[in-house]
Amino acid sequence: MHSVVLTKGVPDFREGQVAFDEDGHLERGNTPTVMNPNDKHALRTALQTKVRHGGTLSVMSMGPPGYGDVLREAMETVYADDLYLLSDRELAASDTWATAITLATGLQKMENQPDLVFAGFKTADGETGHTGPQACWCLDWPIITHVVALDVDEDEGTVRAKRLVEGDIEEIETVEAPTPAFIVADPEFEPTYRKAAHRLTLKDLRAETKERAENHEEHLTTWDHADLNLDPDYIGLDGSPTIVSSVDPIPKAPAEREATVVDPDDGEGMGEVFEAMEPFADGRSEAAGD
């Protein structure tokens, strides 16, 4: 069994990390890059597969050379054996199409051909959700999206998955596909380890990976467009049919409630608070009485 997880670095959109300029545009230079939060679902699904079925696991990303920390985080999360970075100037400014072509080519070049490739649901910055399916289309493999449970039959060479239909938690269908196949995990995917042996494997992997992640660069393979034998006309900016005409900040939603700040030492103010709370106080004493 060999699996590959695709992951991307995105600006850290968390409060306190992200920086915007006066026009509300993202300042990439002042915002740290982190692993796409949504890729955790792909990573967890891949890890569960590795724990249950053994084998090896690689992480692949297309991005600038500074993606070291992103790859390291991915390695720590998924206890990956090795890392692949597809990176050079010619790949810069790729849209989803060019990204997909590059990733598919990278996957084909791997010595150890994957049985399963896991992609995230969508990224925190691009949010198209196209990259995984497009890369799969390039490879002409089956794809199962919105996966919430997964099982592999290695002897039969099949993967069986439960998927949400139209993202509906109420409706779940079970599908089967031959490997190699593409898997896109749904955020509802919860890995389960109900066997003592699986938990012990997990513990072993954690211990092994701790060391590996410290020297993650030793386990990193970087390929540029020449290594991948890709024509610069079909990748990067030149190979990207998408045109971004403009980016508009989303206006802040208007507040629906009014809030007043009252200092607890302000007797008059607190009096008003208690008055306002009066109708609710009755309810409480009734509740306590029964």
């Binding site: 380890y193 109900r194 938990r199 306590a288 009485g289």
Partner: protein, 464 residues
């Protein structure tokens, strides 16, 4: 959690450092080089040096904090067992016995599929659900239990050295008994760690119930007593408060702690010896665990794996462990009042001491020190009227006995309130397990349906 001192007994077939080399270096705090007991009567304090009694049959005894100790041991155990294809799993709650045709064949877990096993060693502590499910232990009689509460008090190593007059390689143990506990039978302890102190009380559960004592107040009584001010000064920081039941092996230790493929070790089997004020639980748990392993190895190598339980029981008796836990002479003494000198001595020292006066009189005769230093006499002390080691009633009683609840305080597990409804006054006791420290007390004193929470979800002690 624990109180603090782990013993390596000379007479024991196994000691913890024998099983885990490097234990003292990595997992313990300070050794006990001096041991004192303080009898407090009003403003008066009588101090006895019981180092000699403590050292009898003691190869070494070190103070421990269980978080540090258990973390280190968990690593060792995982490494050793991994080599054999097993391993240590944490954050898993074992919630029952797996049976086939009525026979125990393994355990069931909340977070995992059932695990089949040739031999199940229940080392799940004083509130062992496995032991109760198998009918080997119960939660019935408060007389069989103590309740222990403890505060870990912050104190830099230098300050400890200076205030106790010791070096980094030395440590002290102090026990406290007397009238600071308002008649609740029990006593207090103080042990020195590297940069903290363990200070706590151990009381007879039935006494806490009888006296309707608030156990936190009793701990405060100790912490704020002038005797402790010499070490604690005016201000001190408590790092942690914890509590747990402690079985009294003399009554609770199951002499035949096994059934089918299940064997009980440690507190799960009631193997907690109160040798007078000296409390020995961890060392016996270690020994019992090793004897159970030995028994299984032998049983399997003889092709009779089902005889492991029997072999374990035999070892407990042959190695003298059961006699320490349930001394026959205790049973004889308590039943017949044996007419030998030692018993008379004990009676004079202890039974006559109805009240503090007795303690002082006995002290004058030098008897008390003798008694505290004699392992034989000390064995009997918890059940005499001497106020050392001594402790908790129906829901209402649970409020006082619960170590995190108090009658006038709304923040603990149990809240006891009088509410008005339709002109009537009603007494309401409500339970909120959020602050529960999982001591199990209420299961005994108030018959609550207390259970351990799921793996990784319960109280987590940072010090232990």
């Amino acid at each position: 959690m624990t109180g603090g001192l782990i013993y390596a007994e000379e007479s024991a077939p196994y000691t913890i450092d024998g099983i885990f080399p490097g234990f003292r270096e990595h997992a313990t705090e300070r050794p006990v080089t001096d041991y004192y007991i303080h009898n407090i009567a009003g403003e008066q304090v009588r101090t006895f040096d019981i180092t000699e009694g403590h050292e009898r049959d003691t190869e070494w005894a070190d103070a421990v904090l269980r978080r540090k100790m258990d973390s280190w041991m968990a690593e060792q155990v995982h490494e050793i067992t991994r080599e054999a294809g097993g391993g240590l799993l944490t954050e898993v709650k074992v919630n029952g016995l797996l049976r086939e045709d009525g026979e125990i064949i393994g355990v069931t877990c909340e977070e995992l599929d059932p695990i089949k096993a040739d031999f199940v060693v229940a080392a799940d502590g004083v509130n062992s659900e496995l032991a109760r499910e198998a009918g080997l232990m119960d939660w019935e009689e408060p007389e069989e239990w103590f309740q222990g509460v403890k505060a870990v008090v912050d104190m830099p190593g230098d300050a400890i050295n200076e205030r106790f007059g010791i070096t980094d390689e030395e440590g002290e143990a102090h026990l406290f008994s007397g009238d600071l506990y308002d008649g609740v039978r029990g006593g207090g302890f103080l042990y020195t760690n590297q940069d903290s102190l363990c200070i706590g009380n151990v009381f007879h559960l039935d006494s806490i119930v009888e006296e309707e004592a608030e156990v936190q107040d009793l701990l405060d009584a100790l912490l704020t007593h002038p005797v402790l001010a010499q070490w604690l000064g005016e201000e001190y920081d408590e790092r942690e408060y914890s509590a747990k039941l402690v079985p009294d092996s003399k009554k609770a230790a199951n002499p035949s702690p096994h059934q089918g493929r299940l064997a009980l070790v440690g507190d799960a089997g009631g193997q907690m010896q109160a040798q007078g004020p000296i409390i020995k639980g961890m060392n016996h748990a270690v020994t019992a665990g090793a004897l159970a392993a030995e028994a299984f190895v032998e049983a399997r190598s003889r092709g009779e794996p089902d005889s492991a339980g029997e072999r374990y029981e035999r070892r407990l008796h042959d190695e003298g462990v059961m006699d320490k836990l349930r001394p026959t002479r205790y049973e004889v003494a308590s039943a017949l009042s044996e007419n030998d000198t030692a018993t008379r001595l004990a009676e004079r020292a202890l039974d006559s001491s109805v009240g503090r006066l007795g303690v002082r009189m006995a002290d004058r005769a030098g008897l008390l020190e003798t008694a505290y230093s004699s392992p034989y006499l000390a064995t009997m002390m918890p059940d005499t009227k001497t106020p050392y080691v001594t402790l908790p009633t129906i829901i209402g009683e649970a409020v006082t006995a619960c170590p995190v609840s108090a009658e006038d305080f709304g923040g603990g597990c149990y809240r006891d309130e009088t509410v008005q409804s339709n002109g009537d006054e009603k007494r309401v006791v409500s339970l909120d397990t959020q602050p529960c420290v999982e001591c199990g007390t209420c299961a005994i004193v108030a018959d609550t349906q207390w259970e351990h929470p799921s793996g990784g979800k319960g109280v987590e002690f940072r010090e232990g």
